[in-house]
C-alpha cells in the first residue's frame, strides 16, 4: 500500500432496502490534499463518507483511512479522523465551550487541556464572544463553525466534511473555505462532499464525480474540464474592423465540424470572436497566423468549460447510457 494515499477505498457497496446507495465505489485521496466528492442529491456521497468515518458498515468492499483498516480497526480510525456532518451536530443545550470541552474529554484530554483546546478553537473560529452562550442561540454560520471546531479538537489527520457549506450565504461559505485551506496548509487531508461545483473548483485538488452510487469520473478540476467539455478559443482584435480576418483565421483551427462565430450572446461584450477547439495546439497554430496577417489583439484566451457544464455532461451521459 502506498503510504501517500491517506484514504483508499475499493469496491464499496451498500444497500438500504431497495436503494443501492453505493454500487462499487473506489476512492483514493493523497495525503495533504483536498478531495472533492461531487454529485447530485442521493448520489451516495453521504453514505460513502459515513462508511469511511466508521459510522456505517459496507455490504462489500474495503477501505483504509490513514493507513488503518476501517472495517477491522474502526476505533483506531476514529482517533485519526474528524467528521462534520451534513447537519451541524452541535448540542444546542450546551454552550460553545461546553460542546468543545466535552469532545476533548471524550478524546481523553485532561480537563485543563480540554478547556485550553476549546479556547484556542473558539478564538480561531471567532466564537470567543459567544463561548458562554448556548448553541441554540447561534446563527447558522456560527453553528457550522462550532461544528467544524468540534471535529478539529483532536488534531485529526483526515477531516471529513459532508456538505460543510450547505445553507450558508456566500460570504460565510468563503470563510469556511479559508478554514479548509488553513487545515490543509497545516498538514491535514480533507475529504469534502458538496453539491456546489464552485466549491469543488475552489478547494479540491482532485474531484470525484459520483452518481447513482458509482464514481463516474476522477481527475483534477482542470483535467475534468479538459477531458469532458470542449475548450473555446476567443480572440478580440484591437481594431473591430479586423473581425472578418479573425473569423477566417479561427476557422483554420476549429475543432472538426465547428466554425468560428462572433460573440453575440446576450451579455457578451461585442468585438470578439470564438471557436470551439479540440486542444491546446490550436493556440500554437493561431498565434503565428495572426502575426502573419498583422492582426493585433487585446484578448487571446483558451477557456475551459465551467465545471457546471462538465458535471451536466457527465451526469447526463450516465442517464443516456441507462436508457439504452
Amino acid at each position: 500500500m502506498t503510504d501517500d494515499l491517506v484514504v483508499r477505498a475499493e469496491g464499496l457497496r451498500k444497500r438500504f432496502g431497495k436503494t443501492q446507495a453505493l454500487d462499487g465505489v473506489d476512492l483514493s485521496m493523497r495525503r495533504g490534499t483536498v478531495l472533492g466528492v461531487l454529485g447530485p442529491n442521493g448520489a451516495g456521497k453521504t453514505t460513502a463518507v459515513r462508511v469511511l468515518a466508521t459510522l456505517l458498515t459496507p455490504d462489500a468492499g474495503s477501505a483504509f483511512v490513514a493507513g488503518v483498516d476501517v472495517l477491522k480497526n474502526p476505533s483506531e480510525v476514529r482517533r485519526k479522523i474528524g467528521l462534520t456532518g451534513q447537519y451541524a451536530s452541535v448540542d444546542e443545550d450546551l454552550t460553545g465551550v461546553q460542546n468543545l470541552v466535552l469532545i476533548g474529554r471524550l478524546l481523553d484530554l485532561s480537563g485543563r487541556d480540554a478547556r485550553r483546546r476549546a479556547g484556542e478553537l473558539l478564538q480561531w473560529f471567532d466564537l470567543t464572544e459567544a463561548a458562554q452562550r448556548r448553541a441554540k442561540t447561534y446563527s447558522g454560520g456560527m453553528r457550522r463553525r462550532l461544528d467544524l471546531a468540534a471535529s478539529l479538537v483532536g488534531h485529526p489527520e483526515v477531516i471529513f466534511l459532508d456538505e460543510p457549506t450547505t445553507g450558508l450565504d456566500p460570504a460565510k461559505r468563503e470563510d469556511m473555505w479559508g478554514v479548509v485551506r488553513t487545515q490543509v496548509a497545516s498538514g491535514a487531508s480533507v475529504l469534502l462532499t458538496t453539491q456546489y461545483l464552485e466549491e469543488a473548483d475552489a478547494l479540491a485538488d482532485e474531484i470525484v464525480v459520483v452518481n447513482h452510487g458509482r464514481v463516474i469520473a476522477q481527475d483534477t478540476p482542470d483535467g475534468l474540464k479538459r477531458t469532458t467539455g470542449g475548450q473555446t478559443l476567443r480572440v478580440r482584435p484591437v481594431d473591430p474592423d479586423r473581425l472578418p480576418d479573425v473569423l477566417r483565421l479561427l476557422d483554420l483551427v476549429a475543432a472538426p465540424g465547428t466554425s468560428a462565430s462572433l460573440d453575440e450572446a446576450a451579455g457578451a461584450r461585442p468585438g470578439a470572436a470564438s471557436v470551439p477547439v479540440s486542444g491546446d495546439e490550436a493556440l500554437d497554430k493561431l498565434i503565428p497566423a495572426l502575426r502573419a496577417d498583422r492582426v493585433e489583439v487585446t484578448e487571446l484566451a483558451l477557456h475551459l468549460p465551467s465545471l457546471d457544464e462538465v458535471f451536466h455532461a457527465l451526469t447526463g451521459r450516465v442517464k443516456k447510457e441507462q436508457l439504452v
Binding site: L83, G85, Y87, S89, D91, R105, L106, L107, D108, S151
Partner: protein, 255 residues
C-alpha cells in the same frame, strides 16, 4: 476499550445530560409535580371510595406503590430524549469518536439518577406533608430510596431500547405508555390483590412491579422484605441482561 475508559467517557456524557437537564427544569415536571398530583388525586379523590373513607390509611398503602409507578414512568423521557438526540445528529459525532459505543447510552442512563432521586424526594416529601409516616427508621427508608433508584436505572433500559427503535419521540411515549399502564395498574399499587378477578391476580403475581412495591412497603412500613427484595433484584438483573444488549444493538443499527 478498557472498563475504566468506558466509565470515564460515560461520566463525561452523563455530565452533558445533567447540564441539559438543569438547563430545562420544566423537563423535570414528570418526576416532581406529576407524581405529587397523582398521589393527591388517588388519595383524596378515590381514596375514600377504595378504603371505606379512611384516606389516611389508604395513603400509607398507596405511597410505596406510587413511588414504583412514578419511577417506571420517569424512565419514559430518557427514550424520548435519546430518540430526538439521534435524529439531530449529535450522536453521529459521538460515534465518530474513539469511545465505546455503549458510553453515550450508559452516560444518559447515569444522568437519570437525578430524575429518580427527585421522584423519591417529591413523593416522600409531599407524602409526609399529607400524613404519610415511615414506620421503620432512617436506614430502611434510605434503603427504599436506594432500591427505587436502582430499579429505575434498570427499568429505563426498556425505554432506551424503544428509543432506538421508534421513529419519533412521540412514538416512544406511546409505546412506553402501552407497556407501563398495565404493569403499574395491573399490580397492587392501588388496590389489594384479593379484590381482583382470578386472571388479573395471575398477572399481578408475575408482574415485576408487584415485588418492587412489596419490598418498598416492607422497607417503609415494616413487614417481610427479604423475599420481595430478592425477587426484585432478580428482575433488575433480568432487565439489564435482556434490554442492555437490545438497546446497544438498536443503537448500532440506527445509523
Amino acid at each position: 476499550m478498557s472498563t475504566m475508559a468506558v466509565a470515564r467517557h460515560s461520566t463525561s456524557l452523563a455530565h452533558r445530560s445533567l447540564i441539559k437537564t438543569l438547563r430545562t427544569p420544566e423537563a423535570l415536571i414528570d418526576v416532581t409535580i406529576q407524581p405529587i398530583i397523582f398521589l393527591m388525586l388517588f388519595t383524596y379523590l378515590f381514596g375514600g371510595a377504595i378504603a371505606n373513607g379512611d384516606r389516611h390509611a389508604y395513603l400509607q398503602f398507596l405511597l410505596p406503590g406510587m413511588l414504583a409507578q412514578s419511577l417506571a414512568m420517569g424512565g419514559m423521557a430518557l427514550g424520548q430524549n435519546l430518540n430526538a438526540d439521534i435524529e439531530k445528529g449529535v450522536f453521529d459525532r459521538f460515534r465518530s469518536l474513539p469511545i465505546s459505543r455503549a458510553a453515550p447510552l450508559i452516560g444518559a442512563v447515569l444522568a437519570d439518577v437525578v430524575r429518580y432521586l427527585s421522584v423519591c424526594v417529591a413523593i416522600l416529601g409531599f407524602g409526609t406533608i399529607m400524613g404519610f409516616r415511615v414506620q421503620t427508621g432512617v436506614l430502611p427508608a434510605l434503603a427504599a430510596v436506594g432500591l427505587s433508584i436502582a430499579f429505575g436505572l434498570c427499568f429505563c433500559w426498556i425505554s432506551v431500547w424503544v428509543g432506538m427503535l421508534a421513529r419519533t419521540p412521540g412514538a416512544v411515549q406511546g409505546i412506553m405508555f402501552l407497556l407501563i399502564l398495565p404493569l403499574t395498574f395491573g399490580s397492587d399499587v392501588y388496590v389489594k390483590t384479593d379484590t381482583l378477578p382470578g386472571v388479573v391476580q395471575a398477572f399481578v403475581s408475575v408482574n415485576p412491579i408487584t415485588p418492587l412495591v412489596a419490598a418498598i412497603r416492607g422497607l417503609l412500613l415494616g413487614g417481610p422484605v427479604a423475599g420481595p427484595l430478592v425477587t426484585t433484584l432478580l428482575w433488575m438483573a433480568g432487565l439489564l441482561v435482556v434490554f442492555v444488549p437490545l438497546a446497544l444493538r438498536g443503537y448500532a443499527r440506527r445509523a
